[in-house]
Symmetry: C2
């Protein structure tokens, strides 16, 4: 029976779980593929201990240095579950150059080095699969890359970070502060000790960069993804949205494509966003992820599942191994299997040029004509107001005024907001949010 020889670099939670899944699935894969997927080498700083803990059989070659695994001459496919950036990059490039196909779930690696990785993959005629890099066990990349091949992708909207979604859900359902919700997430193992990259939207932005690169066929650098995290999400805005707007706040990653423009315009961003309660993304609670795809022929599709954790990521990694194996068994690769969809040239547009409805909260002093001056500043930018809500004044303290706009350019909205904040009527302390 034909053998496909696999090496795994990094036996952390995901790599270790991939070892277990591969072992459990082996009999089924053998029957389906008529070939054996065999783990023959692993690499980890603590390789001997890890191998014992995982019950790996004796014959498996153990390395401590990823470069050694990349140089192993008897491998067909390697899995990169090292994590980090530079070591993962070196290992992946060296493996492709040595003629190995590579599977990874490392979104940072892909977001930062997309062009280089796929240039080497093409030159070496070896494939680089990465289903686990976005939304864990949800097969969103297979859908965008293969199943929806006949569609133009108009928009991808995603809840791509489970930590922040858990925090927002608890702030809303449990009326917790952000700090208390974060603490709960950490207790449940849903947030890291240093949650900065989750809270400030960097992790979601990496995933948006991967989705955008896949959907447009060009490398969208992570720096090109406008981002804001959830740290300025205030309980009062969440409460107001629930009471008055029938909306909830979610951290939404967005790839928005306008194919009617030439070249097509692509905007990529991550923002805390007011989502209508009856929108499918509003019912994504806790640590779950979801991706909504607006496709030209198939219509709106949503994919929902666990975005993090060893099981979902390893499911994606071993799914990629299965796919690679079935392709390898069909014959030598005639291409890198990775010619991206590319419905024409695209131009990245800054988020300032995008259009959205907006929510704005201000602290307004009780002075005659204050509201007229505020709405006037919006009108000066030709932004029309959808609704406005002023709390009853009590004493001399500034009163919260919340308003929502009809669709407007973000640049115009932010300019109007800056003008409003300069008014003598307005006290410090304001907040704004995009709306779906």
């Amino acid at each position: 029976m034909q053998k496909i020889r696999i090496g795994i670099a990094g036996l952390g939670t995901v790599g270790g779980e991939a070892v277990r899944l591969l072992r459990d699935a082996a009999p089924d894969f053998e029957r389906r593929l008529g070939a054996r997927l065999e783990l023959v080498a692993v690499c980890d700083r603590r390789a001997p201990e890890k191998a014992r803990a995982l019950g790996l059989p004796k014959g498996i070659r153990l390395y401590r240095d990823p470069a050694k695994l990349a140089a192993d001459p008897d491998l067909d496919v390697v899995v990169e579950t090292l994590g980090g950036l530079e070591e993962a990059r070196r290992f992946t490039l060296a493996s492709l150059e040595r003629g190995r196909h590579v599977v990874t779930a490392n979104k940072r690696l892909l977001a930062h080095h997309w062009r280089e990785l796929f240039a080497v993959s093409r030159a070496a005629r070896r494939r680089l699969y990465f289903e686990g890099s976005v939304a864990g066990g949800i097969p969103i990349l297979a859908a965008l890359h293969r199943s929806l091949a006949a569609n133009r992708i108009r928009r991808v909207l995603g809840i791509l970070n489970g930590t922040t979604n858990f925090i927002l859900t608890r702030m809303s359902s449990g009326a917790l502060t952000l700090e208390a919700a974060l603490e709960e997430a950490q207790e449940k193992g849903l947030a890291e000790k240093d949650p900065t990259l989750d809270l400030n939207g960097t992790d979601a932005a990496h995933k948006v960069a991967v989705l955008a690169s896949l959907a447009t066929g060009r490398w969208v650098r992570p720096e090109a993804v406008a981002r804001e995290g959830i740290t300025r999400v205030a309980p009062e805005d969440m409460g107001f949205a629930a009471r008055e707007l029938e909306r909830t706040i979610r951290l939404i990653g967005c790839v928005d494509m306008d194919w009617s423009a030439r070249p097509a315009r692509v905007a990529c961003h991550v923002y805390p966003t007011l989502v209508p309660n009856d929108h499918p993304l509003a019912s994504v609670h806790g640590e779950y992820n979801a991706v909504l795809v607006e496709a030209s022929a198939a219509g709106d599709l949503m994919f929902y599942g666990k975005g993090a954790g060893a099981g979902p990521a390893a499911s994606a990694v071993v799914g990629d191994l299965f796919l690679l194996a079935s392709e390898m068994l069909s014959g030598p690769p005639r291409d890198a299997g990775m010619v991206w969809r590319k419905d024409g040239e695209t131009r990245l547009v800054p988020v300032d040029e995008t259009t959205s409805s907006f929510y704005l909260r201000l602290a307004v002093k009780d002075r005659p004509g204050a509201l007229a001056r505020i709405t006037g500043a919006l009108a000066a930018k030709r932004i029309s107001i959808s609704r406005i809500h002023q709390e009853t004044p009590s004493g001399k303290a500034p009163v919260p005024v919340s308003l929502t706009t009809h669709p407007a350019r973000q640049r115009d909205f932010l300019a109007a907001t800056a003008a409003i904040r300069r008014l003598a009527d307005v006290a410090p302390g304001h907040a704004w949010l995009r709306m779906l």
Copy 2:
């Protein structure tokens, strides 16, 4: 440039839309595959008119008889969008035998002739793809067959029929009767003139049979899928569920697998089901479909989208063409590409042996001890009650009593219900529902 020659049998709404999508996607496919997918022949009873209406170029061969298209010597892949059963079967078998790969979206064909179709496909070493047969544009079969290959599938729960989901949604949100909701569906083109196969659950049962066959690796005949439609769903049960149980009624198709038993037990059924309001399937409204997959490693995943209509079905058909083309270009098929997942032997169990919580509504006469005798009949079958609700008696008319049970075998529950209905305390007119 290499050419892949395609024939389409049946230029109805799906076939016609597939022609258009294929034409629109052609430049992108050419760039991605390095080969041209070329429509070279079509077949339709009104082929010349249809060809004109679709603006097909002159050179395309037109047939009126599917057998002629199947016999056309210059084809690589054919699409079966004839509909119906016997003609579609003959065309598909003849095409496979002539060495064509086949794409179809015909769930009836697959459900009824699975074994024969794939026996011929294997013998001919030609592939039969069918993503469009279940849940329209949602790539659920790709997920089960490929992306989730590393998982054991524990359960598949689906809202698989858009017509009935639209009707149930309108009955609940608009407080319409079933008849009024059906009329509205027909006006919107969401129900056929003769909606019998939708209303009585047959269409959903065909899709469950396809999902079950794919998930178990054995042919699950449509007759093996226990089914009940929505015609006995009463507004009063819907209202009670909303008020008292925080649940809504959905027509749920289910494939339930118990891998801890040897052989593994598989139960397949379609029932109107009480779904908790916070369950992801409860927020699937209108004509949308959704499939929830409980996978061993990836956890719970949900796929949501439009289950019907020319666009979604054609998106799936042309997606299958893309996939087939990329596989064909890798080399001659060494297998039929269709060796099913098969995590071991399975045994189909009748729905009577399945376990669920149940809802029961009775009309009870106001007699001392009536409730004791009713609950006693349940206790005699060792079924424990979760809650019970009796309306205030007014006059001598029987009073509605609604109760829910803890998990019980369906056989026991139905036996207890039969015993209860024989009690002198109980007037005619009862209803029961499974609960998620």
